[in-house]
Amino acid sequence: MNSLAISVSHLTKVYGERSAVSQASFDVPMGTVCGFVGPNGSGKTTTIRMLLGLISPTEGTGSVLGESITHPERYLPRVGAMIEGPAFYPALSGAENLKVLADLGGYPIARVQGLLEQVGLGDRGGGKFKTYSLGMKQRLGIAAALLPQPKLLILDEPTNGLDPSGIQEVRELLKELAADGTTVFVSSHLLSELEMISEYLVMLRLGKVAFSGKTHELLSAQQPILVARPEYEIDLGRVVEIARMSGHEVSIVEGAANILAPSSWAAALNRLAFESGVTLASLTSVLPTLEETFFEMTSEAVSDVDFGGNK
């Protein structure tokens, strides 16, 4: 049995003069939750569309659930997907919309009510789609993606428009699905959410893969930050000076000095500060978050893209 849910090699999509995706190569192991991140316009949705057979690659190869992406009919019955937000017929109810897709895929209609309940729309399934809030539409999109009881779930921004409790529910749902053996490939702008659930990560930048691998490998490879907070804020300048004189980069964030230095330098910093007459109220060593790492890795691209979720 193939151990990779998704595997792409040199995948490229060119529109006229513009490369939407360029030579992308990455693997997603079976049974994991894999975050798919990148600024708007980095090629995430184009890649997902190629995986789902909606657009043809200009170059490169790929496989999904062990089948070539040139034959989507061989794997799509085992794939659930929500691409670029939920799209349904406004005049039909949520339940009817799901029944249309159930008819189309040849799935039992009886599955619809259970799915509506699973995503928290059990009592609103009879309402017309056009009357749904953004959060409800998003939940219906997730229900539609779960319709085929997929081995691979591909979700593009599933938490858009959800309130904090809705986001938490989606997070728990994805964890449950992964625990049951479903591979989840999810793109999101909520990097803190992805950091909590993703074992694997694929990061795109300007259509190219900037990183692909285990999330903890990415984060642990980053230089840790020493966060030094003096007892009196007036002493912050002195702490910055000590760090710089020792050859470390430093920035001030919310009344603390964030110093790019290994945790082993903490004792030296504490001693130097004490010798300068500065008492440190706290001194901690932290790894950068996924969000900080993401901004660091995509810093050249962020100046001209929007991270607000607008596409």
Binding site: V79, E84, A87, F88, L92, E96
Partner: protein, 263 residues
């Protein structure tokens, strides 16, 4: 393909579309049939383009179906609008991507949708026939039209033939709508262009260019519905209509199969 047929039928069964369309079809049939009988002695005529259809003509074996066949263009326009809207809305709602994820064979999607809409048109035509036939019997006495030939074997044959021709024409107009829907990918544009072409542009062209209606698709499909027309034989109308629609269908099927779904 059967699954696509079922899925499309569920969309076509939504009450607002189903009831409003059927009500409109029943109304059109009732109006055209009623005018045929109520204006039977009018100097302005009681048929298409001011033609006078006498009680004697209506008393013939094919008289029963006259009211029904006179609605062919309007039934065709309704079909054109439905086929165009049901096809193009998949692009405007962004639902085409859902369809293609659940049924990756694009040809099956097209054929399943087409057959489902053709079935809808069949129901629509059948309702129109029932309303028209019922009203014809109800008004025949008032217009001094004899109904004895209507129930003869020749009368039944004319009824079946008339229904078949109108159904073919309705499907023809519907196919035209589907071609426009796939080409333009917008319900409003495809309906507007289709209706304006059939009702206005073809009429203008026919008025200014001699024998233009012998070549115009809307006129040819309409002539099929009427079992042939003045200067337009049935076989020529049917042959050319099929040729036009097959050519158009081949082009849009190729585009639909090859085009990226990027919205």
């Amino acid at each position: 393909m059967f699954h696509v047929f079922l899925a499309e039928s569920r969309k076509l069964r939504r009450p607002t579309l189903l009831y409003s369309t059927m009500l409109m079809v029943a109304g059109i049939s009732a109006l055209f049939t009623a005018l045929l009988y109520l204006l039977i002695n009018s100097r302005d005529g009681n048929g298409r383009r001011g033609a006078s259809i006498s009680a004697l003509t209506l008393s013939r074996s094919n008289g029963l179906v006259s009211g029904f066949t006179s609605t062919v263009t309007l039934l065709g326009i309704v079909a054109l609008c439905i086929f165009a809207a049901q096809t193009a809305q998949e692009y405007t709602f962004g639902t085409l991507r859902n369809l293609l994820v659940r049924q990756p064979s694009r040809m099956k999607i097209l054929l399943g949708k087409y057959l489902s809409m053709a079935f809808f048109a069949l129901v629509m035509d059948f309702l129109s026939l029932i309303v028209s036939v019922g009203l014809s019997y109800a008004l025949a006495g008032h217009a001094h039209v004899s109904t004895s030939a209507w129930s003869s074997a020749a009368g039944l044959h004319a009824l079946v033939q008339g229904f078949g021709n109108v159904f073919i024409a309705t499907i023809g107009f519907g196919t035209l709508g589907m071609i426009l829907g796939l080409l333009l990918r917008s319900p409003i544009s495809s309906i507007a262009i289709g209706v304006i072409w059939v009702l206005i542009i073809e009429s203008l062209l026919s008025a200014v260019i001699k024998n233009a209606d012998r070549w115009l698709p809307g006129a040819l499909i309409g002539a099929v519905g009427n079992g042939g027309d003045v200067g337009l034989s049935y076989s020529r109308s049917l042959g050319l209509s099929i040729l036009y629609l097959l050519a158009g269908s081949a082009v849009v099927a190729y585009l639909f199969k090859r085009r990226d779904v990027a919205n």
